[in-house]
């Protein structure tokens, strides 16, 4: 009987469902060290691209739950949902989808804390918050690869103030700043490539831009919309919503008043920015489905796009659209009204297991160069206000 080499054990683990991997953390110290090792987590993230949905009911009977797409397409109706319990007896919940399967979750506007949560592993971490101003804000949360950090940003546009949270430093920073152009049309930003993106309201004489906040540089920039001229016979105004599917930024235009045929046809569908930040790379897809204003959630297998369709009076549907022939392949119906976010299953952890990191066991034998610890996020929670940037010129946007 032979003993398996560590690299073979890793290959086996990488092929397991995430639930099994989490259970097997309890096998032994060396298995725990391996499964929670940042390098293993990265390998897992690169290999598995399992898409799931997080359903958020923010107000009535506020709750969060998780849905498996593959399984639900088989069930078709009443998909099995797993409750995601982070905090008991909640009245309200606000969810921002980050990168690598992580979410920013806040339960009360004036709560003194918020949560970072990985629904795939059910891991969540409560983080002390800074007191919020009595005004509305825009918010985003994302991963910055260059500094291996997760950051959240809140924009108080009226006060010209930004709250920036770094998970690595576990601290907030308050700096001055506001949107460079008009303020966006939507509170929640979407994150991609280390930046948060917000859509806009479009007017025939002022189409607006996509507002981008670079989380690494902590600066605003803008991307042009896919259309540079107002559509014929336009409405007084319409909305440009920003989403991320796969590795692509995409937008939809929602014409909700005075929907003239010409105007709707000119902007209808889903616009994808094939090359990030390149205006010329916008292309239009998903035109022939016959649904009004579906929300793109994620990519699916070959040429599939998962769409969320919600229209009052009708049940909420999740559909799989086939880009090859423009047909709707399969769907399931969701019970209730939700905000729906797609996330990729990941083992990303924010409470680095310091106590086990010194007992790496067989990790030491396995290609040490590949397994060097790359991130060590402090586990104690503390808020430090770094306002040193307040007066430096480069922070003034």
């Amino acid at each position: 009987m032979s003993t398996l080499l560590p690299e073979l054990i890793i290959e086996i683990l990488l092929r397991l469902p995430i639930k099994s991997i989490c259970r097997f953390k309890c096998t032994s110290k060396s298995w725990l060290a391996l499964i929670t090792h940042p390098q293993f987590i990265k390998m897992h993230l690169a290999r598995t691209r399992k898409q799931k949905l997080l359903l958020c009911n923010p107000y009535v009977n506020a709750h969060l739950c998780l849905v498996d797409l593959e399984r639900s397409f088989e069930d078709k109706v009443h998909p099995k949902v797993d409750q995601l319990n982070i905090k008991p007896n909640i009245q309200y919940v606000e969810c921002i989808c980050g990168s690598n399967g992580l979410f920013y979750i806040k339960f009360e506007y004036h709560d003194s804390s918020f949560f970072i949560c990985n629904p795939s592993t059910r891991e969540s971490k409560e983080i002390l918050d800074v007191p919020l101003l009595n005004s509305s804000y825009f918010v985003g949360f994302g991963y910055v690869e260059s500094i291996d950090d997760y950051k959240a940003v809140r924009v108080f546009n009226d006060q010209k103030l930004l709250h920036i949270f770094s998970l690595r430093n576990n601290s907030w920073k308050i700096v001055m700043g506001n949107f460079p152009v008009r303020q966006p049309s939507f509170i929640d930003g979407v994150s991609l490539n280390g930046a948060v993106h917000w859509g806009t309201l479009c007017y025939p004489d002022d189409l607006g831009v996509i507002t981008v906040f670079d989380l690494a540089e902590e600066k605003f920039k803008t991307f042009p919309l896919p259309i540079s001229n107002a559509p014929p016979n336009p409405s007084e105004y319409w909305r440009c919503n920003v989403y991320v599917i796969g590795e692509y930024l995409c937008v939809t235009f929602e014409v909700f008043i005075n929907r003239t045929k010409e105007c709707v046809e000119a902007v209808d569908g889903i616009w994808i920015m094939k090359e990030y930040g390149v205006k010329e790379s916008w292309i239009r897809i998903v035109k022939s489905h016959g649904l009004r204003d579906p929300i793109p959630l994620c990519l699916w297998e070959n040429d599939g796009i998962i769409l969320f369709f919600s229209y009052f009076g009708q049940p909420e549907r999740i559909l799989c659209y086939d880009e090859k022939d423009g047909k709707l392949r399969k769907e399931f119906v969701i019970d209730g009204k939700y905000r729906i976010y797609a996330y990729v299953e990941s083992l990303v952890s924010f409470k680095y297991n310091v106590e086990y990191s010194s007992t790496l066991g067989f990790l030491h034998n396995f290609a040490p160069s590949q397994l060097q610890s790359t991130s060590q996020i402090p586990s104690s929670s503390s808020v430090s206000l770094d306002i040193s940037g307040l007066l430096t010129e480069d922070q003034l946007v």
């Binding site: 032979s2 398996l4 080499l5 086996i12 397991l16 099994s20 032994s28 298995w31």
Partner: protein, 172 residues
């Protein structure tokens, strides 16, 4: 277990059958196999030796027993590039790993895994690791320890805390 081609231990390395060169492989326990070069080069390791002109004499395949090497060769024959592969037959052969429940099944797969790793045969590695993953995905931690011959080195308190932290992964 049938072997693809068996020859005397005394046979020299470089022989040909038609225009196809035959390679001689010798297992750890001394069993000798003659295999077509076009088939054996599914192993990245052997392909490297052939490309470097180092495959002219008997190739020793250390760490791999004759019994396991015969299984590897069977795999090669079924996966030969350009061969009319019978999908059904292939699936059937692969399905012998669907249930790895008793120790002897497990040891067979282990041996194959180690051989696939040593000889660097990506398709076989993928098949075997997937088979093991399939076999263990529903196991409890105790069953895992038995399967992998691991002793838990957690004390009771540590294990309880960890289980509590990962409670959901233990629920059905």
């Amino acid at each position: 277990m049938s072997t693809a081609a068996t020859a005397d231990a005394s046979s020299s390395g470089d022989t040909t059958e038609g225009s196809v060169r035959l390679l001689t492989l010798q297992s750890e326990d001394g069993e000798v196999f003659e295999v077509k070069e076009t088939i054996a080069t599914q192993s990245v390791t052997i392909k490297g030796m052939v490309d470097d002109d180092c495959a002219t004499s008997t190739i020793p395949v250390c760490n791999v027993t004759g019994r396991t090497l015969a299984m590897v060769i069977e795999w090669w024959n079924k996966h030969e590039i350009g061969a009319v592969s019978n999908e059904k037959e292939l699936k059937e052969w692969e399905s012998q790993f669907d249930t790895i429940d008793d120790k002897s099944d497990r040891d067979d797969v282990y041996d194959l895994l180690m051989a696939a790793n040593y000889l660097n045969i990506p398709t076989l590695l993928d098949c075997c690791t997937s088979a093991v993953a399939e076999a263990i995905k529903g196991k409890s931690t105790d069953e895992m320890r038995e399967f992998f011959d691991i002793k838990s080195d957690f004390d009771e308190k540590e294990e309880d805390a960890l289980r509590k932290e990962n409670q959901w992964a233990f629920e059905n």
